[in-house]
């Protein structure tokens, strides 16, 4: 059997591909693109939430938010670690993010205007992320699948804490409930965009499905998400901002309105409300952290020298 045939057979037989196995260059490239974008999304995803750490309403919420943001950093690291097994250096991926060359999830280019946005991000945005991520625990590339298992375990906490924030607001004063409704009004459509372009316009879907990197198409996941979220919004007493939303007994799911795809492509291409702000914040943090990296390196060098002297004495 040729390398190609062995690879195809492993995919067919649900045998995971591991770093040193032969793989088609296009498979490697697709994975590097997807995993690095995923890692960048975790890293940039810290920014809209970090914005609220100092203003969390209670100590409990603050501790939770800190833990969540720390998790996002961890998720970024698990994923960079998986990406590196494909031969892509982490420093290069980070440079691509900082220069604006690399993409990350368009959702993080929207502003977080109120405390209810923290609840909505956890509940809706992380809910959407989980739908995307659970099937990735069975993705064909071993290191990616293993990283996703860890990510998914932790995301569950993110979604629950978000729902809890929403529930508190919805059971609170009229103003608090209005704040929750305002947040879902702003976040609903951008969240539906997180599943990516329609299947017909998604250039990467077909190959990714064939290679079992992806297990469901963008539209399938979007439908699942709507079906999952409607009852939860109803429980909270929130209205989903879509006039076309309607139960369809024939398909046993909801019909829903069309995403504003012009807006989607605009945000993807860098013209979202916060693209510039996010990249600037990321670059600033990276530059301001330079002294830490330098100090760590200098300290390691000094210790290595001292150990050498100690060993020869």
């Amino acid at each position: 059997m040729t390398n190609e045939e062995i690879f195809e057979k492993k995919i067919q037989d649900e045998v995971r591909i591991e770093p040193k196995d032969w793989m088609p260059e296009a498979y490697r490239k697709t994975l590097i693109r997807q995993i690095s974008q995923h890692a960048h999304s975790e890293v940039v995803g810290m920014l809209p939430e970090a914005n609220w750490i100092t203003r969390a309403p209670t100590l409990r919420r603050k501790a939770t938010l800190l833990a969540k943001v720390q998790d996002e950093a961890g998720h970024g690291l698990y994923l960079y670690s998986a990406m590196e097994t494909l031969g892509m250096p982490r420093s290069q991926a980070i440079d691509d993010l900082l220069s604006g060359k690399a993409k990350y999830s368009s959702i993080f280019n929207y502003p977080t205007l109120s405390w209810a946005d923290m609840g909505t991000i956890g509940w809706l945005v992380d809910g959407a992320a989980i739908l995307n991520q659970v099937p990735l625990c069975r993705t064909s590339y071993g290191p990616y699948a293993r990283a996703m298992v860890r990510v998914c375990k932790e995301e569950s906490f993110h979604q629950r804490q978000g729902f809890e924030i929403m529930q508190s607001l919805c059971e609170g004063s009229a103003d608090q409930k209005a704040m929750a409704q305002d947040a879902i009004n702003r976040w609903w459509w951008p969240t539906l965009m997180m599943f990516g372009p329609r299947d017909a316009e998604s250039g990467n879907t077909e190959l990714s499905m064939k290679w079992r990197i992806k297990r469901f198409t963008n539209d399938e996941l979007r439908q699942k998400f709507v079906d999952m979220m409607v009852p939860q919004a109803q429980f909270l007493g929130l209205t989903i901002p879509d006039e076309k939303l309607k139960w369809n007994a024939d398909k046993n799911g909801y019909d829903f309105g069309d995403v504003d795809w012009d807006e989607f492509w605009k945000v993807v291409k860098g013209q979202g409300p916060c693209n510039k702000q996010r990249l600037e914040a990321r670059n600033k943090a990276h530059d301001q952290g330079a002294w830490v990296r330098e100090a760590a390196a200098a300290y390691a060098e000094k210790r290595a020298k001292r150990e050498k002297i100690g060993a020869s004495a």
Binding site: E18, K20, D21, W22, A67, Q70, D71, G74, L77, Y78, S81, A82, E84, T85, P89, R90, S91, P143, R146, A147, R150, E154, R293, E294, A296, A297, A298, Y299, A300, E301, R303, A304
Partner: protein, 95 residues
């Protein structure tokens, strides 16, 4: 030495006493101590471990999957190394 030069470390974690250390991923760090502290922060935020090993990735020697067929060949025709190879009468117990 810039961050680009920070070596890569593989991280192994024993999740509880009595179990093996298991590979969980990798990270970059300037030296072993920082690798250990980063490993704690990245891989044990929820008490996933009671012991951590960090090993510089360059020190790991791995078998080559392309040579797997020849490499594992010696074990392939030795079914007699498995207990099921031997017939034991049905009425014999505790064996």
């Amino acid at each position: 030495m810039s961050q680009k030069d920070w070596p890569l470390w593989e991280v192994f974690i024993r999740s509880r006493q009595g179990l093996d250390h298991k590979h969980v991923g990798s990270l970059h760090a300037a030296d072993a101590r920082m690798a250990m502290e980063n490993a704690r922060d990245v891989y044990t935020r929820r008490l996933e471990g009671v012991s951590i090993w960090v090993v510089e990735s360059k020190n790991i020697h791995a078998s080559n999957p392309d040579e797997a067929a020849q490499f594992y060949d010696p074990a392939e025709d030795k079914a007699y190394r498995h207990p099921t190879f031997y017939n034991v009468p049905d009425d014999i117990e505790h064996m």
